[in-house]
């Protein structure tokens, strides 16, 4: 029986334009525990989902065809998203770190910025961090 919000699984939104990477991340999360996972392959779709049903953790690729990662983070911050964020990218580490700094400057809670592919252990650590940062569920 579920008698309160703390027992609810962490809500995770995965954003990547590559269905292969999305499936892989979903599978890794499945191995790591019980999560409420949603996926998006477009930045615009992810923004709509953030608005309608904000997750506790947003895991997003920085290279999206419809919007670059920096612009996406700016929109996420403008929407007032107050969950946590993990950035993923196949770009150079310096670019990833710069994106992380810019996102933090927007006021977002960035838990990490990882190159692809992210290792299961690293993802597990980040998910645990997200659980620690978890806020009480927001009422819409």
């Amino acid at each position: 029986m579920n008698d309160g919000a703390p027992a609810d699984p962490l809500r995770v939104l995965l954003l990547d334009d590559d269905p292969f990477q999305l499936a892989l991340l979903e599978d890794m999360l499945e191995e790591l525990g019980d999560f409420d996972v949603a996926t998006a392959t477009h930045a615009q779709g992810a923004l709509a989902m953030l608005k309608s049903n904000p997750p506790d953790l947003l895991v997003c690729d920085l290279s999206m065809p419809d919007m670059d990662g920096i612009e996406f983070m700016r929109h996420v911050a403008q929407e007032g998203y107050n969950g946590t964020v993990v950035l993923l990218s196949g770009m150079e580490n310096a670019v990833l770190k710069a994106a992380e700094r810019l996102a933090m400057a927007q006021g977002l809670t960035i838990l990490g910025a990882c190159g692809k592919p992210v290792a299961a252990a690293e993802l597990g650590d980040l998910v645990n961090l997200a659980k620690m940062h978890r806020r009480p569920h927001r009422m819409a």
Binding site: D17, D18, P19, F20, Q21, A23, L24, D27, M28, E31, S63, P65, G90, M91, K116, P117, A119, A120
Partner: protein, 106 residues
């Protein structure tokens, strides 16, 4: 990434082949319209997936697609790279078929 789960490895290996073939097909289509920006985006996307499955030679060629020069030089280079990438996809497919054929066996 997946640990020792032969069936899962097989599943993701085939998913990689399918998404990569779809990506290459899209590159061929957009090359005809001269949309090199989209070719670069797809090169970047497939590069990450190729690295994930350990197809590092394919990832390198995809990185070259990602960094295509402008206009005619870029279009020529893209055509050359795609010719090599299709051959490489055949080889990777053969490798995956060979190495995961018995994945359903206990």
């Amino acid at each position: 990434l997946l640990g020792y789960h032969p069936q899962k490895i097989r599943k993701f290996a085939f998913k990689f082949l399918h998404t990569t073939k779809d990506g290459f097909d899209e590159i061929e289509t957009v090359m005809k319209t001269g949309n090199l920006a989209r070719v670069r985006e797809l090169g970047h996307r497939i590069k990450s997936a190729a690295r994930t499955v350990g197809a590092l030679g394919m990832a390198e060629l995809c990185e070259d697609l990602e960094n295509l020069p402008q206009e005619e030089a870029g279009a020529i280079q893209a055509r050359n790279l795609m010719a090599r990438l299709w051959l490489l996809l055949d080889l990777v497919t053969e490798q995956i078929m060979t190495n995961t054929t018995f994945a359903n066996d206990d």
